[in-house]
């Protein structure tokens, strides 16, 4: 398919939004890369969105400003979009399309990989089972992250999701197994300050040398965001499956990505789905998220933590909604908890890790993990329900049992969810805190726990009922 055509077309007929239409084309393939020379002499890149009948529609990643229908020249390369990959990509800072931004040399290439990748054969996958200790109790104790999982952080404007993500990157490890660990960080449309914060945080902990950054900042071309996560995941796939590393991919902010997709869709006058997003948004997002995983017979893994800000904290907005249908759970950053000064303000109610059930327990975290997780969830949601009631009838009207649950909810937030930004708790510590909090309840109230587990906790001295 490498035909490296030397034909240069000057037959641009239409420039609209991010799209360029070229006439009289021959044998242009779907999705092939196009090089565009602007009247000012700049070299731009695009890909073919539609081809046929001597006409090709091209999306231009850098945007079409400055392009015209007279002088602009277009060359079709015959290649699909590829990223040069090698282990030396670690420690580099690249732009959203994978070109070096740091002062370093051009990327060395052991190979060129198609950034769109190919779907993993479900038969070749291995079910993720190794827990990652993030050191954050609200995640480790209640919604454990597992290697090979895709677990997004749903947040909103003004919430500290970046600090949480940075803390996870600093602390994430598999206890007793410090293997080859790498981070691929893809920024889509975040501000320079936010990017700076992450870089600084990586630098301070020495993480920068095993990190690759793909930066498409807020003032960078919006359409480039279409390829940023794909380029980042291609690098991650190389590191995981060829260099045997455990890769954590942070994608932030997926909302900006979806908006770029919507812009292209609108420019092509496609029939919109919900809120103007294209009908194929689900499929498109799944092509990104499903690149996380673990493959049978290969050592490396790809774990994804996409971050997205929910417009008006609305979880039913198409972006968080479709994301939640693809990812294996979600971590919700809650505004209520944040206002009460709790950090990290992770709201356990709607948060969920679908893969934790196989990744916790004897030999992985601790044998009592499943039971205590269920018990803490039960007690906290009872307490939360009672808060609503107290607001109406006052706390005097509650029974003794209810008073205990009410008190528990407050202590649970203050002591379990709440922790320092630089406090790194082990699984052991997290679970012990949980038992301590449950000491308010008599044994028979702990219906989610086995009697044997309860007496084990009592012997250990972490469950001390009065």
């Amino acid at each position: 398919m490498s035909k490296e055509s030397s034909i240069v077309y000057r037959s641009v007929s239409d420039v609209s939004g991010p799209l360029l239409v070229v006439e009289n084309t021959h044998d242009v393939s779907y999705n092939e890369v196009v090089k565009i020379r602007s009247p000012a002499g700049e070299l731009l890149t695009g890909t073919v969105l539609e081809t046929g009948r001597g006409r090709a529609v091209i999306q231009v990643f850098e945007g079409t400003s400055g392009l015209d229908a007279e002088v602009t020249s277009v060359r079709f390369t015959g290649e699909t979009l590829k990223l040069p990959v090698s282990s030396e990509i670690l420690g580099r800072v690249l732009d959203g399309a994978g070109n070096p931004l740091d002062k370093g040399p051009p990327l060395t290439a052991e190979d060129h990989w198609d950034i769109y990748g190919s779907p993993i054969n479900p038969y070749a996958r291995q079910y993720p089972r190794q827990p990652i200790q993030t050191g954050v109790s609200a995640i480790d104790g209640l919604n454990t992250l597992v290697r090979g999982q895709k677990l997004p952080i749903f947040s909103g404007a003004g919430l500290p999701h970046n600090r949480l993500a940075a803390q996870i990157v600093r602390q994430a490890k598999i206890p007793g197994e410090e293997g080859d660990f790498a981070i691929v960080f893809a920024a889509m449309g975040i501000t320079a300050t936010e990017a700076q914060y992450f870089m600084q945080s990586f630098e301070e902990t020495g993480a920068l040398e095993h990190t690759t950054l793909f930066l498409n900042l807020a003032d960078d071309p919006a359409i480039e965001r279409i390829i940023t996560p794909r380029a980042a995941l291609t690098a991650a796939e190389y590191l995981a499956y060829t260099a045997d590393m455990h890769v954590l991919v942070i994608l932030t902010d997926m909302t900006n990505y979806a908006e770029a997709l919507r812009e292209i869709s609108a420019a092509r006058s496609e029939i919109p789905g919900r809120r103007g997003y294209p009908g194929y948004l689900y499929t498109d997002l799944s092509l990104i998220y499903e690149r996380a995983g673990r493959i049978d017979g290969r050592n490396g893994t790809i774990t994804q933590m996409p971050i997205l800000s929910m417009p008006q904290d609305d979880m039913t907005h198409p972006i968080p909604d479709l994301t939640g249908y693809i990812t294996e759970g979600q971590i919700i950053v809650g505004r209520g908890l944040h206002r009460r000064g709790i950090f990290p303000p992770i709201d356990p109610g709607p948060s969920l890790s679908r893969l934790m059930k196989e990744g916790i327990g004897e030999g992985m975290t601790r044998f009592d993990h499943k039971e205590i997780q269920a018990q803490l969830y039960y007690a906290y949601s009872e307490g939360r329900d009672l808060r609503d009631l107290v607001a109406v009838v006052g706390s005097e009207a509650l029974t003794d049992r209810d008073q205990k649950y009410l008190k528990f909810a407050d202590r649970f937030e203050a002591d379990f969810i709440n922790q320092g930004e630089f406090e790194d708790r082990s699984f052991e510590q997290t679970l012990d805190i949980g038992w301590n909090l449950l000491s308010d309840f008599p044994e028979r109230e702990l219906k989610r726990c086995d009697p044997e587990t309860i007496s084990w906790a009592r012997d250990k001295g972490v469950y001390k009922p009065s």
């Binding site: 398919m1 242009v28 393939s29 779907y30 999705n31 092939e32 969105l49 539609e50 081809t51 046929g52 009948r53 699909t80 769109y116 190919s118 779907p119 993993i120 054969n121 479900p122 038969y123 070749a124 996958r125 291995q126 079910y127 993720p128 499956y241 919109p272 789905g273 009908g279 194929y280 689900y282 499929t283 799944s286 092509l287 499903e290 493959i295 017979g297 290969r298 979880m315 198409p318 909604d321 479709l322 939640g324 249908y325 759970g329 979600q330 709607p350 893969l355 059930k357 969830y377 039960y378 949601s381 609503d388 009631l389 109406v392 009838v393 009207a397 509650l398 209810d402 028979r444 219906k447």
Partner: protein, 602 residues
């Protein structure tokens, strides 16, 4: 049909416009481009036609050749299906992995059923027998659970003139020759090819009077599915659609299970693949995979193949139904299938109706669900088979008013409504008992009275009434607090709490609780309803609810769901006796202290 070659005119995603094949028919399979990607014709025009391509189309260019095949999209049916895992167009995933490694590349062509493997064939028909389509001519012990029955295919009718002996044959060897009334000889082999888009023929539909027992208490009790019925399980993400469907696939008392993972997560299919071969069928003790066919077209696999996967699955289900088996088909998720329809329809430039979905969404959904049912199969004798269809629906934002949910609800007879609030409290299965329904209640009543207990329908009614009353009271409590309620109503709240905590919640992860035999379900419900009645009774006499909650029988009831599958009767007997005893001694104690309103007869 001779091969005709045309050319590609234009490409937009999975939709490719072609020209140059005048005789091309709707839904014919075509091979597209130099890599011979598999496609299907979905629109025929004057000179041009449009194909949807089942593989990624990057790199495809106008001018590349298109070849017609003359075939409609079909599946291969025969011994070897069970235990297999396929993509949406019946390519075995393990074979694809052998060809292209861990990632699926394009233009791979693999046959659905192994043609070299030899199967043990036991003929049951003999030379001279008159046969018609659907007649059984022999059997193949395919797996430890299922014996594959070999049927005379459609269009073959007459007298058997040759029949092989018992022995080992491949699926494409001729096992039988049939001479029809014109004297023509037809070769019959074990393999059949069936187009997926039309249902396989049967004699007639019959009534549905047996439940599909799922082993899930809330479902078997309050919204039972019938064998041959259709049901939908809508819910936002995280409410447990997939877990519930997996539970059905594992524990439902169907003989064959076809599980279609349609546009969902890769890891979920992997979980099924890794776990199910190790799970034992509670009745036969054999691995569950021996009765299961998996179709995995995950969300990142090509969208057009996702559209086809549902039909591939239901055609396989029909093949087993025609052999006289009760088949359960799970489709997770029909919303992703509908989205595939929407995407293709959009690329064709069809006028959209609600939320961009094509106007034919409702009729396509209905056609699919109508392929379920309990039927008399073709052939001599009254062989009954059924397909029960359970489809997950993924409404955007958990909003049930969206088109796919609404179109589905107009068709299906069982509705399991998943509730986001319950899921957030980790109350699983998060099925809302008050909004869900089953329209099979009356048809199943006779079976239930005979097989579970004469009083079962009454127990269910009482439980529902209790839950309804509970909800009303809770609204009052929200306004005035629990103190304002009289003791009798507090007793209702406590009884409902027991019903919810100790009966309705069921852990899919617990090795015993994951499956609840019908008999155990019956006894558990009976104990709880009895407790509720006794509690109401003694509260009437003046006993305080607080005192009843101190009874140690509550702990026994809380743990009764963990009673083993084969010996739960002992546990339940113990609980019933202990319950009577504790209530009596409570009454006695109260009566001795003179705290009762009136003396009891006990």
């Amino acid at each position: 049909m001779t091969e005709v070659t045309g050319r590609i005119e234009s490409i937009a995603g999975p939709v490719v416009k072609c020209s140059g094949i005048p005789a091309v028919r709707m839904y014919e399979v075509v091979r597209v481009g130099n890599q011979q990607l598999i496609g299907e014709v979905i629109e025929v025009g004057d000179e041009e036609f449009t194909a949807q391509v089942y593989e990624e189309t990057s790199g495809l260019a106008p001018g590349e050749p298109v070849r017609s095949t003359g075939d409609s999209l079909s599946v291969e049916l025969g011994p070897g299906l069970l235990g297999s895992i396929y993509d949406g167009i019946q390519r075995p995933l393990p074979e694809l992995r052998k060809l292209s490694g861990d990632f699926i590349s394009r233009g791979l062509s693999v046959e659905g059923i192994n043609k070299e493997k030899k199967w043990e064939f036991n003929p049951s028909a003999k030379v001279g027998d008159k046969v018609q389509p659907g007649d059984i001519i022999g059997e193949v012990p395919e797996t430890g659970i299922i014996t594959s029955r070999i049927l005379i295919p459609l269009q073959v009718e007459g007298e058997i003139v040759e029949m092989v002996k018992k022995g080992e044959y491949t699926v494409i060897e001729t096992i039988c020759k049939v001479k029809d009334q014109h004297g023509d000889i037809h070769d019959v082999m074990m393999l059949q090819r069936t187009p997926v888009r039309v249902g396989r023929s049967f004699k007639e539909r019959v009534g549905m009077d047996t439940p599909l027992v799922t082993g899930q208490r809330v479902i078997d009790t309050f919204m039972p599915q019938a064998k041959g019925g259709t049901g939908a399980i809508p819910g936002g993400f995280g409410t447990g659609k997939t877990v519930t469907l997996h539970q059905f696939a594992k524990w439902a008392d169907a003989q064959v299970v076809v599980y279609v993972g349609c546009g969902e997560r890769g890891n979920e299919m992997t979980e099924a693949l890794e776990e199910w071969p190790h799970l034992k069928d509670p009745k036969t003790g054999r691995p569950l995979m021996e009765r299961t066919v998996l179709i995995a077209n995950t969300s990142n696999m090509p969208v057009a193949a996702r559209e086809a996967s549902i039909y591939t699955g239901v055609t396989m289900a029909e093949y087993f139904r025609d052999q006289g088996y009760d088949v359960a088909l799970m489709a997770d998720s029909t919303s992703r299938w509908a989205e595939a329809l929407r995407e293709i329809s959009g690329r064709l430039g069809q006028l959209p109706s609600e939320e961009g979905y094509p106007a034919y969404l409702g009729s396509r959904l209905a056609q699919f669900y109508e392929r379920g049912g309990r039927v008399k199969a073709l052939g001599s004798g009254d062989r009954l088979g059924s397909i029960t269809i359970c489809g997950a629906v993924s409404p955007p934002g958990g909003d049930f008013s969206e088109p796919v949910t609404q179109a589905t609800l107009r068709i299906v007879k069982v509705f399991w409504a998943l509730d986001k609030d319950l899921a957030a409290r980790r109350f699983f299965p998060a099925i809302n008992t008050l909004t869900s329904y089953s329209l099979y209640f009356t048809t199943l009543e006779k079976w239930q009275r005979a097989n579970m207990g004469e009083d079962w329908p009454e127990l269910v009614k009482e439980s529902l009434a209790l839950l309804q009353k509970d909800q009303e009271l809770r609204e009052i409590v929200q306004l005035v607090g629990p103190d304002a309620l009289p003791e009798s109503e507090r007793a209702v709240l406590e009884a409902a709490r027991m019903l919810k905590e100790d009966f309705l919640t069921q852990s899919a992860l617990h090795e015993i609780d994951t499956y609840c035999p019908m008999g155990k379900t019956y006894r558990m419900l009976k104990i709880i309803i009895n407790f509720a009645k006794k509690m109401a009774e003694v509260v009437q006499m003046g006993v305080q609810v607080r005192r009843i909650l101190e009874l140690s029988i509550l702990d026994n009831i809380a743990r009764m769901k963990l009673a083993p599958w084969d010996s739960y009767d002992e546990t339940m007997d113990t609980i019933e006796n202990k319950m009577d005893g504790e209530f009596q001694s409570l009454l006695q104690e109260m009566s001795e202290s003179g705290l009762l309103f009136k003396e009891t007869a006990q």
